[in-house]
């Protein structure tokens, strides 16, 4: 058992996967010699060489497009998009092909590939470096969208993503890369994609969150605990296919729910959570579900980012309003 941060945990999973499976290749801008702008691919280039750790030209559509081709021809590419702010360059390849090949060929061709992307705010970055648009992928049929929240689940979920026979969008909350450490087991492990985790039990209200925003939810729950308010927290881990059963079970218990994420609100993940709870636990709801999310504006440059990102204070206020409804 070692205590490592999320950056290291993802790096560890990459080493383990490349070790175990010759078919795994890593590709993207600056992932080789430079070891990634966040150093997530540290040590890979030295260990596996430039055939399996591929510095590509600067072209996101081609990175995803050639990864599709590689996975068709028997490899398991893990492609890194340097920031989610630039994945839209490749969106036609993701929407038009990555998400569709299995269906289009009725199962004959499938694409075991992973798109790794650092996402989200909180690192004092410039424009296009802090977006959180997981809903675009969630709205796209044929994709799985995974968002870890800590070192241990980051490593386990990345293994699951690599082993998955279908394309997985693996979004890394970059604000968490070096935020805290966690014990991870010596043995590599996986976690089922599409399964949410109740990370804190409570009977008063359910907080649904994931990724970096989960920190705000946890902090809020801890503060509320002091006021004798017991929050249950569901970490989605996979935002699509979303495990609404776990969410619904919790809400049936608490009768109240607040959703916390930093992505935009309009047609965001939170909207879908509300819609599913409405469908599956309507009679259990004692108050409207609140969405504590990013506003429907481009995420501000860092001087005003804090007005945009959900924090514990906003979560607490939302919880209280929900409880006092």
């Amino acid at each position: 058992m070692a205590e490592i941060n999320m950056a290291k945990a993802i790096n560890l999973a990459l080493h383990e996967a490349m070790d175990r499976d010759q078919r795994v290749v890593v590709m993207g801008e600056d992932v080789g010699q430079d070891e990634g702008v966040f150093r997530i691919t540290e040590g890979l280039f030295a260990k596996y060489g430039d055939e399996r750790v591929i510095d590509t030209p600067l072209a996101e559509a081609a990175i995803v497009g050639t990864a599709i081709g590689m996975s068709i021809n028997g490899l398991k590419p893990i492609c890194e998009i340097q920031f989610t702010g630039f994945d839209y360059y490749a969106f036609h390849q993701v929407e038009g092909h990555a998400s569709r090949f299995r269906n289009r060929t009725r199962g004959r061709i499938h694409l075991p590939m992973v798109m790794r992307m650092p996402y989200g705010g909180g690192i004092r970055a410039l424009e296009h470096h802090s977006e959180s648009r997981e809903a675009y992928y969630a709205h796209t049929p044929g994709l799985k969208v995974v968002i870890p929240s800590g070192p241990r689940n980051a490593r386990a979920l990345l293994h699951s993503a690599i082993q998955d026979p279908d394309p997985v969008i693996y979004l890394e909350p970059k604000a968490c890369y070096r935020l805290f450490r966690e014990e991870v087991p010596d043995q590599m492990e996986t976690l089922p994609i599409g399964q949410a985790h109740v990370i804190r039990e409570g009977e008063d209200i359910t907080l649904v969150s994931y990724g970096a925003s989960l920190r705000a939810a946890i902090e809020a729950a801890e503060e509320l605990e002091e006021e004798n308010i017991h929050c249950e927290i569901v970490d989605l881990l996979t935002v699509s296919p979303m495990d609404h059963l776990t969410v619904v079970k919790s809400v049936k218990k608490t009768g109240r729910c607040v959703i916390v994420h930093e992505g935009q609100r309009n047609c965001g993940i939170g909207s879908e959570v509300v819609a599913r709870i409405n469908e599956h636990a309507f009679l259990y709801l004692e108050a409207p579900i609140k969405r504590v999310t990013g506003f429907d504006i481009p995420i501000p440059y860092f001087s005003k980012e804090r007005y945009y990102l959900p924090d514990a204070e906003r979560v607490i206020v939302a919880c209280k309003e929900t409880l006092n409804f």
Partner: protein, 381 residues
């Protein structure tokens, strides 16, 4: 320090061997075995006749809109004949002849233009991707397949296709660039039919040829008469040999012309003259190739007629088969639309699958009721 001219090493060439009147440049004639020549002709003819047959079906409402292939047979067959079964074929959508040669059943082709995904499922053991609708987006796939060959140390090649319009898309540029940087064994074949729907070549690009774009990638580039199957053969063979030997990608432009509308929904009179089309009709690829085969003694007039009959039989049988398949339980199964999106059906999709099940159930109930009523009324009248 002065103002100097930078030497560009590459020479962009033009190649034509068998001209529109079937005059042959003997000095350039490739040495193709008779059997192979016959195969080439057969699939060119099969492509043409399937295309014609599908047009009729479309007019009768038996098919949806589809892009026709007539006129593109030489580029398709002259190139695809140079790759092996375990090489890869990544078409756009006018490579009907080549797809049939690669092993796609005609009935699959008919099925996919008839709105069945089952038709776009490549047959087992056929290393082809299905036709690709979003222009140029197949090219990065071809390059990725080729990059994987290099990584896996396979000695295979990829043959891929795109139109003149496709050259404007960023994906085309990115694919050519990746291929050249990674020396991927890919042969890029551009079907330059001089139009992208209604948009003529000079509105698509300012340069004279597609071939010269190869200079931007330090890649060999050549323009050939795209209606001359021998020229296509020679140019693509050189490219395939080079790719297989580790020499990286090549760009081949086949100059040709759509003999038909863009698709069955298009009206070319709006943007090009019938006179020009008539001119190009004279240059079309099958007639001159048939003459060549006869001149060379590879096929007699009788052989050619026999082949027409053979091809006709194949097409007819395929139409029957496709229309039977379209009525089969397997292809009509509504759950097919859900069951192949992922390897397994996730929970939320299972709930939607159940919704579909309810819908089907209600529909069947209604049908049953209706039938019951019918037989009642039948009994009464």
């Amino acid at each position: 320090m002065p103002r100097t001219v930078i030497e560009i090493a590459q020479k962009i060439e033009y190649l034509s061997i068998l001209d529109e009147n079937a005059n042959l440049d003997k000095s350039l004639e490739p040495d193709i075995p008779a059997e192979q020549l016959k195969t080439m002709y057969k699939y060119m003819l099969l492509g043409r006749r399937t295309d014609e047959r599908m047009l009729k079906m479309q007019r009768q409402g038996r098919l949806g809109t589809f892009p026709q292939s007539a006129g593109h047979e030489a580029i398709s067959m002259g190139s695809v004949i140079n790759i092996k079964k375990d090489d890869w074929h990544v078409p756009a959508y006018r490579e009907l002849a080549g797809m049939l040669y690669r092993g796609w059943p005609i009935e699959n082709i008919i099925l996919f233009w008839n709105g069945f995904e089952e038709g776009t499922r490549p047959p087992e053991e056929v290393n082809d991707l299905p036709i690709c609708v979003p222009i140029a987006s197949q090219l990065p796939h071809a390059v990725g397949i080729g990059m994987a060959m290099n990584i896996k140390k396979e000695k295979n090649v990829v043959m891929t296709y795109f139109g003149d319009g496709a050259t404007s898309e960023g994906d085309c540029h990115e694919a050519l660039n990746f291929a050249s940087v990674f020396k991927a064994p890919v042969v890029f074949v551009c079907l330059n039919n001089q139009y992208a729907i209604s948009v003529p070549l000079e509105r698509q690009m300012a340069c004279e040829t597609v071939a010269q774009k190869a200079i931007a990638y330090n890649m060999p580039g050549i323009r050939v008469d795209g209606n001359d199957v021998l020229a296509v053969y020679v140019a693509t063979k050189e490219a395939v040999d080079r790719a297989r030997a580790g020499g990286g990608p090549s760009l081949i432009e086949g100059l040709t012309y759509r003999l038909t509308p863009h698709t069955t929904a298009d009206d070319p009179k709006r943007y090009r003259s019938d006179a020009t089309t008539d001119e190009w009709m004279k240059k079309e690829p099958l007639i001159r190739f048939a003459k060549y085969l006869q001149n060379k003694g590879v096929m007699s007039a009788k052989d050619l007629e026999d082949m027409e009959v053979e091809v006709d039989t194949l097409v007819k049988a395929a139409v029957t088969k496709a229309e039977e398949m379209a009525k089969s339980e397997e292809l009509l199964n509504p759950y097919n639309i859900i069951d192949h999106v992922f390897a397994d059906v996730p929970q939320f999709l299972q709930e939607q699958r159940d919704e579909l099940g309810e819908y089907m159930k209600r529909e069947n109930d209604r049908k049953a009721k209706k039938n019951a009523k019918k037989s009642e009324t039948g009994a009464l009248s």
